[in-house]
Structures are given as structure tokens and as C-alpha cells.
């Protein structure tokens, strides 16, 4: 049983790492995310890091593309803010932003970028934290707590990150100059959406069957 549990935990850890890496890759290239990419193996995460590594161009092109997509100063080609997709496409710092920030603060963290709280990197990192907390709970044998973590992750994805990741990805694919950001769009979208679906299935199963958490976590391995 504990072997299975260990496997499950490892799989969850992989989920967590995936979110973390994605968060880092949406940041400006100089922020250190690219180093993370270098250090990650396929086994660590649930996305195709190899593909991403291959798609990385020279530094300058990368920076330029990142800026054009996500930073501006004027028209953002792929605005990385939830508010734009959920509230008003011309507005940042909306109620959606406030709601997300409230979620962070209620959980005991806060945005640490010079950006609105609903920046994609922050939302990805927050999800990472939620999964990392789940992992700790599993490690400690606190399964009820771990279940709650799963619920929390699902709530966050369905209320926030999951709602707009595909539109963001579409903008990225349409406007990216480099293959890297196109690839990132693909990987991010498919991972997040799949993860969301999987969470929904797990929670449904926990709710309607007698299966315990360990059993439900099956199927979380690398796809």
C-alpha cells in the first residue's frame, strides 16, 4: 500500500513541478525561468520539456517575443491577465483581479510581481502551491486535508486559471514570433485543461464511490 502511496505522491509531485515550471516560463526570460528549463527532465514534469528546450531561440529574440506578447508598453498581443478575458478586454485591474488577489491572501500569500495579481505566472504558481500543499498533506498522511487540497485546486482552476488559458494560448500561437512561445502555449493549455478534467473526475469519484483517496489518485502519472 505504501508503495502505491509513494507512487501517487510522486505523481502529484510531478503535477506540482509542472505548474511551477510553467509559471517560471511565463516570466521574462531574464528572470531565471530558462535555467529551470535546462535543469528539468521529462520525468520531473508532465509536459514535453524536450520540445520546449529545442524551441528556445537566441536570447534576444526570446526577450523581444516575450515583451511583444506580454509586456507592451502598448498593445499586448497576448495579454497575460485573467481580467482581460473574463471581465473586459480593455481593462486590467478589475474585479476579477481583486478576487484572485483575495484568494491568494486568504491562503496566506500575495502577489510579488510588479503586475496585477491575475497574471498567468502568478496563477500558475498559486496552483503549484496548492498542489505542493497537497503533497505535504499526503506525506504527512493527512488524507482528509489532501482531499480538501484537491477541491481547492479544482475550485481555483474552474473559477480562474482554467477559464482563460485556452484563449491566452490562442493569442500566443497567433502572435508569437518564436517557436518557443507557440510551444509553450500548446503545452500550457493542454496540461492545464487536462489537469482540470482529471481533478473533476477524481472529485466525482471521491464523492460518489467508496474509493479512497489513494485509489482515486491513480492515473496521475506522466502521460
Amino acid at each position: 500500500m505504501s508503495d502505491t502511496l509513494d507512487d501517487r505522491i510522486a505523481a502529484e509531485r510531478q503535477r506540482a513541478e509542472t505548474y511551477r515550471l510553467l509559471a517560471a516560463l511565463f516570466q521574462p526570460p531574464d528572470a531565471g525561468g530558462m535555467d529551470g528549463l535546462e535543469a528539468t527532465t521529462d520525468a520531473d514534469v508532465s509536459i514535453a520539456v524536450g520540445r520546449l528546450r529545442e524551441a528556445v531561440p537566441d536570447r534576444d529574440s526570446l526577450k523581444l517575443d516575450h515583451a511583444g506578447l506580454f509586456v507592451g508598453p502598448f498593445d499586448l498581443l497576448a495579454p497575460p491577465y485573467e481580467s482581460v478575458y473574463v471581465d473586459d478586454e480593455t481593462r486590467v485591474m478589475t474585479e476579477a483581479t481583486e478576487r484572485v488577489r483575495t484568494e491568494y491572501r486568504e491562503a496566506g500569500v500575495d502577489i510579488d510581481l510588479d503586475e496585477p495579481a491575475d497574471h498567468v505566472a502568478a496563477e500558475l504558481e498559486f496552483t503549484y502551491l496548492l498542489v505542493a500543499t497537497e503533497v505535504e498533506a499526503l506525506d504527512a498522511g493527512a488524507f482528509e486535508a489532501a482531499e480538501r487540497c484537491l477541491e481547492r485546486q479544482y475550485e481555483f482552476l474552474s473559477a480562474h486559471l482554467g477559464r482563460w488559458i485556452s484563449e491566452l494560448a490562442e493569442n500566443m500561437r497567433e502572435h508569437a514570433d518564436t517557436a518557443f512561445y507557440s510551444a509553450l502555449a500548446d503545452e500550457a493549455r493542454s496540461f492545464v485543461e487536462a489537469d482540470g478534467r482529471r481533478l473533476a473526475e477524481r472529485l466525482e469519484r471521491l464523492d460518489s464511490t467508496d474509493d479512497d483517496l489513494v485509489a482515486v489518485l491513480e492515473g496521475g502519472e506522466n502521460r
Binding site: R91, M93, T94
Partner: protein, 271 residues
Amino acid sequence: MSSESESLDAELETTTLDGEGVDLSMVIDLQRCTGCGACNIGCAQENNLQEGMAYSSRIIETNGEFPNVSYEYTPTLCNQCDDAPCAEGCPTSALHKGKGGITMHDHETCIGCKSCMINCPYDEIHLNEEDPHPTWESEEATIESGTASARAVKDRAGVDDDVDAPAYYNPNREVSETEHPTRYKGIVEKCNFCVHRLERDELPRCVEECPCEARIFGDRNDPDSTVNEVLAKYNPDVLKADEGTEPSVNYVRDYNGGSYERGTGEPGLGD
């Protein structure tokens, strides 16, 4: 006192920030307003404002010729516009629409570019050209060893050196991990409907302070709110309606209440 204060208190219970789709609005009943300025002083004290930074202010107009003179006092504040030009034009989104429809200002993101001041048609945004309350730094006594000094008062009141505020400053204003009772040089500031009070289920200071109970505050999306009741009863006006900013601050009735038909409470010709 009128039963207004009771209904305002009841209003508090239904007006919270956290509800989705809360649209906060203020109505100023000009017939009740006596132009006393208690709101201005209360706001200055609540927000630790120095001279010249009044969020709550006034437009005063005298018209006509003696003896047919009219004088009108109109209380003003940030209109928390639904379509806020200040927020739209803010390059860092320091100014942004937040909870309850309040135009919020994150002073840590503000770069002091003053675009908002240009964009605001109501002149309700103020720039800190220096760190506030410089007079409260003074160690000079008007009479040596006889009167106090600003520094001495702060010491006696137990107020830290690094607090750029008077000895009577309000500690509950805009508090974060370390207290920030005032803003600082290089950034702007403006009325935020006392969001720090709303979060504690208290009405904005000007609303509570008005001895004439001329300010009504609440949620427009709540059909039962007093705000909606008042707006339905009278013909509301906003300032500079043609600017299209959709202010959340409305005015009803007339400062010159004398134009009313007595005993009916109904508007006369002026409304």
C-alpha cells in the same frame, strides 16, 4: 434626529464589499446639506491629509444681483466613475476599478506620472509634491521651554519618528504589513470611498460625519437599498454629465431649499 441615521445603520448590514456585483453609490441630498464643512474636516482627519489635499471638497457659487442672490454649496468628492478616465489612462494600473466599483489606487504601483490628474474632469486626484505633514517634523517651539513643538507633541503622544503624520493621525487608514497612514512624495492619492472603513462594516467617514445626514450610501444593485429609494424619489443629477464618466455620486434636491413647496417635500421649479 431623523430616522435616517437608523436606516443608514441598517444599510451597513447589507452593504459589504465582498459580495459579487456590489455597486457602491453615494447620494448627496442638497436640501439637507448646510455647507458646514464637517465632511471635509472629518475626511481630512480620517485619511491623515495635509492642507491642500482635501478629498472631500466643495464647489461654491454665488449668482444674481443683490438682493436677488443665490448661493450654492455643492459637496464634492471622487465620483468613483463607472467609466473612469483616470484608471483607463493609468499606465501601471495603479488606478483601477476594484471592489464595489470603487476606483482604487495602489500607491506602490503608482509612478506619479500625473496622467490621471489630467484625465480626471473633476480635479479629484492630488499629487504629493513632498512627503506629507512637513510641519509635524519641526522641533521649534514658539516659546522656548514654554510651548511644545510638533516633534514634542508626537513624542508625548507616542507617535514614531517615521510616521509622516500629525500626532492625532488615524492609524486605521490604509494599513498593510507595516502601517502606512499617509502616502508619500511622488505619488498621487484620492478618495477611495473609505475602503478601509467599508472593510470593517463602517460607512465612509464623510457619510458618518455629516451632522445634517445629507449623505446616503449603499449598493445600487440591491433593490432595497436606501440609495435606490432616494434615487427613485427625486431626480438625481451628476456633475459634468456630458463627460460621460458615469459617476457613482449623485445629487438630489436643491441647496436652496427655499424653492420648495412647503409641507410636501416635493421639488419646486428648481429641480
